[in-house]
């Protein structure tokens, strides 16, 4: 059961710089671990994260095995208009998850 924890302020004034915090559950298996019998545990990570604000991409990240499990990513955005933030995580083995949060800007 993959779940995401998103933290976006519900309200902001136009022009405010807001902090967006995201947390996604994922093992982020590095691909460098081995079983006791010597087989490699295959890589299974989130490779890309993006955020769109009313359809326009405002943030994107390439993630590598060096990002810790249950990736926590925070970034900033200028609140320009009311609407929605859409988040997307894409990774190995066809992993894809989305989440969204609304904001009201006055």
């Amino acid at each position: 059961m993959a779940s995401a924890l998103i933290n976006v302020p519900k309200k902001a004034k136009r022009g405010d710089i807001i902090e967006i915090k995201t947390l996604m559950s994922h093992i982020m298996e590095t691909g460098y671990r081995h079983t006791a019998t010597g087989e490699v545990v295959p890589r299974d990570i989130i490779t890309s994260f993006s955020c769109r604000y009313n359809g326009v991409e405002i943030f994107r990240a390439d993630l590598f095995p060096a990002i810790a499990a249950n990736p926590f990513i925070t970034f900033f955005a200028v609140a320009t208009e009311s609407g929605k933030f859409d988040f997307e995580w894409i990774g190995d083995k066809g992993f894809t998850e989305t989440a969204s949060a609304s904001i009201s800007v006055e």
Partner: protein
């Protein structure tokens, strides 16, 4: 843990004269008791303090969803009998492990959840350390955040608390250590790079950075017991429940801080 590291640990401890000395069995004075939180660096503490950044909250979210979803042949959700967990489950985790009259012995929170699943939902029990069981336990424990621990008060639990204390004190394993050697006698010192805490289970189930996952107190106990090169009890074993019970009663009065974060 690798044998080379075990040997290094043993050498460190022998040098510190712990293995040689008799069991001091000096219980920590009530006013000196400190949560494992206080032994962490500010960065790790910050991870626990912020619900929007605490990875343990991912399991709490899952647990909330499970609480409300129907399960088993009876087609009931936990919520159907217990209602809103925020009200009905407040304080519950603070008094577990609790005495179960039918079994005539204490059960921990995980076992209680499974007893409910099998008995009332007619659903299969959840495997120990499975994501679902951890999620439900985390969700329940979080409802008791801030509540003072009161486990072990029931007089019927007395013999089991005593048994748990015995298990805590006894030396075992290749390193011939008892839990008390580190956690009663040498807390606030360091074992290799890690701080030795007082071993109060105020934050369970917790997100351990070493595990990169949420895990139960039994997982931690098994890991410690393997660490001193003794055979760890199976999940759900009476010994582990008795140890849990003793640890919780030893922490009586301290507030629950689940889901905690630990290194």
């Amino acid at each position: 843990m690798s044998v080379s590291r075990a040997i290094r640990v043993a050498v460190l401890l022998i040098a510190a004269d712990i293995a040689a000395s008799p069991l001091a069995a000096a219980e920590i004075p009530q006013d000196q008791r400190r949560s494992g939180y206080s032994f962490m660096t500010p960065d790790t503490q910050a991870m626990q303090d912020d619900d929007t950044a605490n990875p343990g909250m991912l399991w709490v979210l899952d647990g909330e969803a499970l609480w409300n979803s129907k399960a088993g042949a009876a087609g009931k959700a936990c919520a159907d009998c217990h209602g809103d967990a925020r009200a009905s489950m407040k304080g519950v985790a603070a008094r577990y492990p609790a005495f179960d009259a039918t079994l005539g012995r204490p059960v921990n929170l995980e076992q209680r959840i499974n007893l409910c699943r099998v008995g009332h939902q007619q659903a299969a029990p959840l495997a120990f350390e499975s994501r679902d069981l951890l999620a439900l336990t985390a969700y329940l424990a979080e409802q008791s955040r801030g509540t003072a621990i009161e486990a072990g008060i029931d007089p019927q639990l007395e013999p089991f608390v005593a048994k748990g204390r015995e298990l805590f004190m006894q030396r075992q394993g290749q390193l011939n250590l008892g839990c008390a050697n580190c956690h009663d006698d040498n807390w606030d010192k360091r074992l290799a790079g890690s701080a030795i805490t007082q071993a109060h289970p105020t934050g369970y189930p917790l997100y351990r950075l070493e595990w990169q996952s949420l895990g139960s107190l039994q997982r931690r106990l098994r890991s410690c017991i393997s660490g001193i090169r003794a055979q760890a009890y199976d999940y759900g074993a009476p010994e582990l429940v008795e140890l849990e019970l003793y640890l919780m009663s030893r922490a009586r009065g301290m507030p629950i801080e689940a889901p905690a974060v630990r290194p």
